[in-house]
């Protein structure tokens, strides 16, 4: 009757109360780090149609976002954007899941999902408008079928659940997907989202990237059981996959989406991966992280295993390599050129779109400020120059 007791955790800074070996052994996997294709009766049917070319396309996606990620860090160092949250190490989790989606599915993500943004067809420089501090949202959510990046941890899981309730009301067969981190699972909102999703049986997929860290906090501080274990208690089926295995992630997401589309309700996927970089460019992981952990995970690289697999298949040809290199170079050059060229917003944009209908109070403030600005010869002059990252917090 009583469930097994779990080990005590207080001051421990281990990244999980599970050992690494236990954790790894618990994951659904199709591609070993060596590139070996592991048969998986449950997942195999869901990616059966993928030929080497299709897997090569996934590889190319991952290569591109890895490169865009590096460009993000570089652009931040060069002062072209204010902040960058690297996704290094999480390429398979993001591409595998996002490439399972249809265009009419709708994504509510957190701030680290540049790979998902890419897969939704948004121009990377559109995203960089956000990190450059030009706008809070770089794209039209209805064009990309993706909401703006969410900064409030966990809030978007409820939005996905509500959107999915709307899909259900409409009798549509689309799904909503919520992306969030391991740290987010501690937030009330994420748990309430599971309650609502289970109660209404909404077509929503909860996609948790457990990258082992929430800034400086190891996942073991948030949960002393595998995160995937939580959802079933809410009545939501869950799956724990190797988040560095793009095939397994793709297959698991397809299963969840299929369940959503066919009236099966919500699903929860825990993609176990690792944040290879700092939390953001403002963070210094040396303060809290054992470098040995990084080394361990470097051996589980999400791209390397696909490369090895394709090589085994004879599909990682010089020509393919060349094609990937060209595509990544082009993407990098493009994002760099476009980011640097992003113009500053007009001052009066401050007052735009706060309300959809005219608002007497704000209209007054706007006209007062316009009159104030008209005193200055250069309308960009007022205000002390903005000092990005002046105080250097790990935001």
């Amino acid at each position: 009757m009583l469930q097994t007791q779990t080990p005590a955790h207080f001051a421990g800074r281990e990244s999980s109360t599970q050992t690494d070996a236990t954790e790894q052994a618990s994951l659904a996997r199709m591609l070993a780090p060596s590139g070996e294709r592991l048969p998986n009766a449950e997942l195999d049917p869901w990616v059966a149609e993928l030929d080497a070319a299709a897997i090569g396309a996934l590889y190319q996606d991952m290569a591109i976002i890895r490169r865009l990620d590096a460009e993000g860090t570089a652009l931040q160092r060069q002062g072209q954007i204010a902040l960058w949250p690297p996704l290094l190490g999480q390429e398979a989790a993001q591409i595998g899941s996002a490439r399972a989606l249809r265009s009419d599915d709708f994504v509510f993500s957190s701030y680290r999902e540049m790979g998902v943004v890419w897969a939704r067809g948004v121009r990377p420089s559109q995203l960089n408008r956000v990190w450059r501090g030009v706008t809070a949202s770089g794209w039209d959510p209805y064009e990309a079928h993706m909401a703006p990046l969410q900064v409030i941890i966990g809030a978007q899981t409820l939005h996905a659940t509500g959107y999915a309730l709307g899909i259900q009301n409409d009798g549509a067969d689309a799904a909503a997907v919520a992306y969030f981190g391991d740290g987010a699972t501690s937030q009330g909102d994420v748990n309430e989202a599971m309650v609502f999703a289970a109660s209404f049986q909404t077509p929503v997929v909860f996609f948790c990237q457990n990258n082992h860290w929430a800034i400086s906090e190891p996942v073991g501080l948030q949960a002393n059981r595998p995160i995937a274990d939580r959802a079933p208690g809410f009545g939501i089926p869950s799956m724990r996959v190797d988040g560095n295995d793009v095939l397994a992630v793709l297959a698991a997401t397809r299963i969840a989406l299929d369940r959503a589309r066919t009236g099966g309700g919500p699903s929860f996927i825990e993609a176990v991966t690792y944040r290879m970089g700092p939390h953001t460019t403002a963070d210094d992981p040396r303060k809290y992280r054992d470098p040995a952990e990084l080394e361990l995970w470097a051996g589980r690289d999400p791209l390397a295993r696909v490369e090895a697999f394709l090589r085994n298949q004879g599909a990682f040809t010089a020509q393919f390599e060349q094609q990937v290199a060209e595509a990544t170079d082009a993407a990098a050059a493009e994002v760099r050129a476009e980011t640097i060229a992003i113009p500053d917003p007009d001052p009066m944009e401050l007052f735009d779109h706060v309300y959809a209908e005219p608002h007497t109070g704000l209209a007054r403030e706007r006209s007062d400020y316009l009159r104030y600005l008209s005193q200055f010869e250069d309308p960009a002059a007022p205000g002390q120059p903005q000092q990005a990252g002046q105080t250097g917090g790990a935001r």
Binding site: F106, L158, H159, Y163, L165, F196, V354, Y355, H359
Partner: protein, 345 residues
């Protein structure tokens, strides 16, 4: 014209909104079979079904968060918060999501969410059932905040709130739910006064008295009582708390030169402070006396046996009017020097 209670008028307004637009839906705790603890949604689930009138799990953040998602999907959610004191668990979703999504998406996503909140005291209820949290929301950019005081306004304004593309906090004066009045249910919404405008309820010339929600009736009573003493009070029902209809309010203060504002919420940092500050800015040269606030105190809403001491009532409002007229109200002596008094520095 139909005679309705204020609660009944909201019910009728909700029914009309549900009938008008299939994308409108109601969400909340106990709003279905029960019809809400105040029966404001009575009969609506039976009429429109459980997908249009949705009993939700017991979690306010969850309700508002899912309403945001429904808004993204093109729905028009009308959320009931069961009591004023239970809105705080949803504060983050309201302040960080509901209010900002239109600005965040540069206008691409509108969230026409209406948040209905029965508010205020005077009903002898338990802790957390008598709050007046409107100032928190009035201070939050991206929200509109309104409150009706009559059945007619309740009927009209709830429909205007729902039709409004912006998120609207709709504060229902719960102790006036059973007040009856005539409601014109036939008049097209387009012909009604806009929801952002204040109404002069009683015209007067000596003092401007501003109130909203539950205290409009008390203010009107005060005007009646004062008239017997030869004081002419102009009572204005704000109706819209954010934005304020400053043109209407300032016109009155410029006429009377004296201002009293009353609300149930604590005075410090309450809506009265904004009203006094902005009308002082606009009408400084017309003011004969410092504006006066008659409000709840800076204490948690008290137990039922003490609430009549907390709530502004006829006597306290008249005391405030006296002070605004420079007739030293008993409470005012030490803090507001009489006009022209010499005060040592």
């Amino acid at each position: 014209m139909t005679v309705m209670t204020l609660a009944g008028a909201i019910n009728a307004g909700l029914r009309a909104a549900l009938a008008a637009d299939p994308k409108t839906l109601l969400m909340g705790e106990d709003i279905g079979a029960l019809g809400g603890v105040y029966r404001v949604t009575d009969g609506l689930q039976a009429e429109f079904g459980p997908r249009r009138v949705v009993d939700t799990p017991l979690a306010e953040s969850g309700i508002l968060g899912t309403a945001v998602g429904l808004g993204y999907r093109g729905y028009r959610p009308v959320v009931e918060i069961q009591f004023d004191g239970f809105i705080y668990p949803a504060f983050d979703q309201i302040v960080s999501q509901v209010s900002r999504t239109h600005a965040r998406t540069r206008g691409a996503v509108t969230l026409p969410i209406t948040i209905r909140v029965p508010f205020g005291g005077g009903i002898g209820s338990a802790e957390h059932h008598s709050e007046s949290p409107e100032a928190y929301f009035a201070h939050t950019p991206g929200l509109r905040v309104i409150s009706p005081s009559t059945p007619q306004d309740a009927f009209t304004m709830i429909q205007q709130a729902i039709a409004c593309p912006d998120p609207v906090l709709f504060f229902e004066p719960k102790r006036r739910y059973h007040v009856k009045g005539e409601v014109d249910v036939e008049r097209p919404l387009a012909d009604a006064a806009p929801m952002g405008g204040a109404h002069v309820v009683v015209a007067g010339s000596d003092v401007t008295l501003l109130a909203y929600g539950p205290l409009v009736a008390t203010a009107t009573d005060a005007a009646t009582a004062a008239r017997a003493e030869g004081i002419s009070i102009e009572v204005i029902d704000l109706r819209s708390l954010a934005p304020l209809d400053l043109d209407t309010l300032a016109a009155s203060v410029q006429k009377t030169g004296r201002l009293v504002v009353t609300h149930e919420a604590p005075g410090f940092g309450g809506l009265g402070a904004e009203i006094v500050a902005s009308l002082t800015e606009r009408c400084f040269d017309y003011l004969e006396h410092a504006p006066v606030r008659v409000t709840g105190f800076g204490v948690p809403y008290p137990p039922a046996k003490l609430e009549r001491h907390y709530l502004p009532d006829l006597d306290r409002i008249l005391d405030g009017v006296d002070r605004a007229l420079g007739r030293l109200g008993a409470a005012a002596a030490p803090t507001v020097p009489a006009r022209g008094a010499e005060v040592a520095q």
